[in-house]
Amino acid sequence: MNRVLTALLLLASISFCVSAQTKPKTVGAAPAASIARGALVYKQYCLACHQIDGGGVPNMNPPLSKTTWISGDKTRLIKVVLNGFPAPVDIDGESYTNVMAPHNFLKDQDIADVLTYVRNSFGNKGSAITAASVKAVRAKNK
């Protein structure tokens, strides 16, 4: 199990380096294993507020679909998980009142998995986020 994880991490960091070097270019489909693990992280830490359909709660918790917060800049998205999100806030013309707590206690891999899951669920279609990306953003965070 550990060996698999190390291999995955290695792979992830390699692909991060590669993608960092080749810059924008399109990235391949998100790995199914990461999405599957991400679903479990989502259930434990996100579902209570963002709901089973990722639709959030009107006026309180923002939805996770049809928003550039999910599909757009990965660094910005990783920072939301690490730092939480202030409230009240207006997103795409709607107001939301509930604060999101920082989830910086999650491991890099957990954050990578859950974001990869969210970016490929609820009608979203996005590239994977790697643990190495999370690690890099965390290192520069604050």
Binding site: Q44, C49, Q51, N59, V99, H103
Partner: protein
């Protein structure tokens, strides 16, 4: 010929017309929609859609003339915060005017004034004998500078003197050091209680009152949206929204299932100086005990320590009671008289368990106290035939309640924007 026509035929026609008009007026009261507007009601009751507002109607008041003032939760793209509907004999509403540039929830009527709240202030508008607002652009600001954030609604109600009671919900779930964070503990001596998590009392007729002009009437109430003055007891009753996320903050102490059911949504009968215990405790409706909050040393079993009042009734967790109304009308059968209707907006914090609420409850009362079990009075707002898994699936969500002059019950839905009227049709 011409003179004859004017002399005899015209008056005859006029008389006939007025007689038939009178007949229409006296026979046609409010008419239930064919499908009772999609609501499931006890036998003998019917419902109609008064208006589709296209906005987010929260609290509502009906004038003695049967017209409607309703407060809109949000203002968007120049839309107004208060809508005024005139109703016809059949009960259908027509938007007569809209005014006020601020969002909010509170809407009430007393004597010569209409009262409305934003999320930080309370205003009042002078009204004429027909309860029409005289100067919609220049209300009197009576309260200002109230705190807001999550739990922003400033619901308002009056006693029989010249006092107004305002709910000030707290910008926090459970007064943790880090709000809603996994395992974060409570701030010792929760400092938020000085200016929120309670009911404040002000004067109805004094301009620009701030915290220092009012008194904290009751404390330890996380968030109240539904509240009403009980005329039998001459006492304030409130519905508290209990805290969220017992499982996601303390997964070792609470299962998902426990977290979906707990804590109770509580009805409190308040006296000045009462403390309902937030954030130090919550009420567990299964153990029938006041339990110490895990943020303050609790373990899901330890009982709370402190002088905290008991609820007078408790309902399943997270159903979000947004409207409370003591029924004093004569239209409904006797059992409803002086009992309480509660509009449960519907839960979100029961996930991944199925959501609950999204209905109107009737709580029987006797001698000013809840008496016997509550029952679902009106259901079907969500238009769902299966379990509601996410609040987004519900089409309508009940929020505000008002009683019409004939004893009809009005209900707002702040999700789709419908205003309903529930009537008793059995003769």
């Amino acid at each position: 010929m011409k003179t004859k026509l004017i002399k005899y035929i015209v008056p005859a026609v006029l008389i006939a017309a007025s007689v038939s008009l009178y007949a229409i007026k006296s026979n046609v009261g409010p008419v239930a929609d064919k499908d009772n507007a999609g609501l499931k009601l006890p036998e003998g009751f019917g419902a109609l859609v008064v208006a589709e507002t296209g906005a987010q109607p929260r609290h509502i008041v009906v004038t003695p003339q049967g017209n409607i003032y309703v407060k809109m939760f949000r203002v968007r793209n120049g839309s107004k915060g208060i809508y005024y509907y005139k109703t016809d004999a059949a009960g259908k509403g027509t938007l007569s005017k809209s005014f006020g540039d601020y969002p909010g929830t509170g809407m009430n009527l007393k004597d010569d004034y209409l009262y409305a709240s934003s999320n930080t202030e309370v205003f009042r508008y002078k009204i004429d004998a027909n309860k029409e607002v005289l100067d919609a652009d220049h209300p009197e600001r009576i309260i200002t500078g109230l705190k807001t954030g999550q739990h922003e609604s400033k619901s308002i109600v009056f006693d029989n003197l010249d006092d107004i009671y305002v709910n000030i919900g707290v910008n926090s779930n459970s007064c943790q050091v880090k709000d809603r964070q996994f395992a974060s503990m409570g701030i010792p001596g929760c400092p938020l209680l000085d200016s929120a998590a309670g009911i404040w009392r002000f004067k109805i007729n004094k301009p620009n009152q701030t915290y220092k002009d009012g008194i904290r009437y009751a404390t330890g109430l996380r968030n109240v949206v539904g509240l009403d003055w009980n005329q039998q007891n001459n006492q304030l009753f409130v519905m508290q929204h209990g805290r969220d996320q017992l499982h996601s903050i303390f997964p070792d102490m609470y299962t998902e299932k426990q977290s979906a059911e707990l804590p109770a949504e509580c009805m409190y009968a308040l006296k000045q100086g009462d403390n309902a215990g937030w954030p130090y405790m919550y009420y567990d409706q299964i153990q029938h005990k006041k339990i110490m909050a895990p943020e303050y040393g609790g373990d899901s079993k330890k009982e709370a320590v402190g002088n905290f009042i008991d609820p007078v009734a408790a309902y399943p967790g997270h159903m979000a009671p947004d409207g409370l109304l003591f029924y004093t009308g004569n239209m409904f059968p006797e059992k409803y008289k002086n009992g309480a209707f509660i509009a449960f907006h519907g839960s979100w914090n029961r996930a991944p368990e199925p959501q609950k609420g999204y209905f109107l409850v009737f709580q029987p009362f006797k001698n000013g106290k809840p008496f016997g079990d509550w029952e679902v009075f009106a259901d079907g707002f969500s238009a769902m035939t299966t379990d509601i898994k996410s609040p987004n699936e519900a089409v309508h969500r009940p929020c505000g309640l008002a009683q019409g002059p004939d004893g009809s019950l009005y209900v707002t839905d702040d999700h789709h924007g419908t205003i309903y009227r529930i009537i008793y049709t059995k003769k």
